[in-house]
């Protein structure tokens, strides 16, 4: 406590303090604005009704298109996506067609040598019918699923969830 600060030191500390305060006043709002995407809350997705009835769905995976309204900051648009839908016992399964390797689109039975598998043409990725990735091919995990439901006999599709079958 006995150590005294000189007038010059006091002046320097005061100026640095005031300067930092002013700089923070300028920088903080801009930093917060730039970081905003980290703090934006994701919109709650509703179930989207497709044009496919529950009765139509067989054990053979079929491509089911669905369209929903996407709010992207100031831009609202209709986005069309699709799922691979099939019946597994009593359950209805809807797989996301996004490959778990690098995000290309997988197709059921597109490879003649693997008629009972999902195939990704980009790097020859393969998945079993339950979505499990075939060892020795590029994908690092099983295909994601969509939440599914029913509305007046029609199939409805919701959020992407991790694979529940593997």
């Amino acid at each position: 406590m006995s150590q005294k600060i000189t007038r010059r030191q006091f002046m320097n500390y005061s100026l640095m303090g005031v300067g930092s305060f002013m700089a923070a006043g300028v920088i903080l709002p801009m930093g917060r604005m730039a970081l905003d995407p980290l703090f934006q809350e994701g919109a709650e997705g509703d179930m989207v009704t497709t044009s496919v009835t529950i009765d139509e769905i067989t054990e053979e995976p079929m491509q089911v298109d669905f369209t929903f309204e996407q709010q992207d900051a100031w831009y609202t648009s209709e986005v069309t996506d699709f799922a691979w839908v099939f019946r597994e016992g009593d359950e209805i399964i809807a797989f996301s067609p996004v490959c778990k390797h690098l995000g290309c689109t997988v197709t059921w039975a597109a490879d003649d040598n693997n008629p009972e598998r999902f195939f990704c043409p980009c790097h020859n990725g393969l998945y079993e019918k339950n979505g499990n990735n075939v060892p020795g091919t590029p994908p690092t995990g099983p295909l994601d699923q969509f939440e599914v439901g029913e509305s007046d006999g029609y199939l409805t599709i919701g959020q992407v969830i991790p694979n529940q079958l593997v």
Partner: protein, 224 residues
């Protein structure tokens, strides 16, 4: 810690003379408000520079959300002002700063004029200052259009008509600025955006560098 990093760099680069040259210089008594309070008039140039810095910073961050397109420009401004945290503050800084920088620059010009600081050997710096004045006014004018609201549209219509009243070449200037003979639209917006964020700031940086180098070379003019 900080001192040791500084020393390490200084040992290798010898940076001390560089920042001394920039920051360490005498302030004459007649421009120091601590001696004569009326000397605050000498602060307007520095204040102009300070606000220009804020304009550059806030502008950089606004561009993260703004899009120069007639369909989305207004919506993106609305989004960044209402839905982005602190967006209102940053846009406010840029909005009010734009007017303030013109005011400060005008007061700086008045000070230089009434203290006779433009006289020999500083005539060239006055000329560069006038070019800076025009550059800042150009930035203010082009920035006005970017939110793409009604005020922007009509202010730009007036400005373009003024440009069009230049003898002989007025029509050409007007078409070059607007990008079209008659429409104030898509091409006007992209042109004004390019001018506002690339061309004029480039000119501004070069002119400010020349302005400041000349001040350091010639020193601050003497007392009245």
């Amino acid at each position: 810690m900080f001192n040791r990093i500084y020393d390490w760099i200084d040992d290798r680069m010898d940076i001390t003379p560089i920042w001394r040259d920039v920051a360490d210089h005498e302030v004459p008594e007649h421009v120091n408000p601590a001696y004569h309070f009326s000397a605050f008039v000498y602060c307007f140039g520095g204040l102009t520079f300070f606000i220009v810095l804020i304009q550059i910073l806030s502008g950089m961050f606004l561009t993260m959300y703004y899009v120069p397109d007639i369909v989305n420009a207004w919506n993106s401004v609305y989004y960044l002002q209402h839905d982005v945290a602190a967006g209102l503050i940053v846009r406010g800084m840029h909005h009010w700063g734009a007017s303030l920088v013109v005011v400060m620059m005008f007061l700086h010009t008045l000070r230089v004029f009434f203290t006779g600081a433009y006289k020999a050997p500083r005539e060239l710096n006055w000329v560069v200052g006038v070019l800076l004045f025009a550059t800042i006014l150009g930035l203010a004018f082009t920035g006005y259009l970017l939110p793409w609201d009604m005020k922007a549209l009509f202010a730009t219509r007036v400005g373009l008509d003024i440009a069009g009243s230049v003898p002989f070449i007025g029509d050409w200037i007007q078409t070059l600025l607007a990008g079209d003979d008659t429409i104030i639209g898509a091409q006007t917006l992209t042109r004004f955006f390019a001018i506002h964020v690339f061309f004029l700031p480039a000119a501004l940086f070069i002119l400010m560098a020349i302005h400041f180098i000349m001040i350091r070379r010639q020193g601050i003019s003497g007392p009245l």
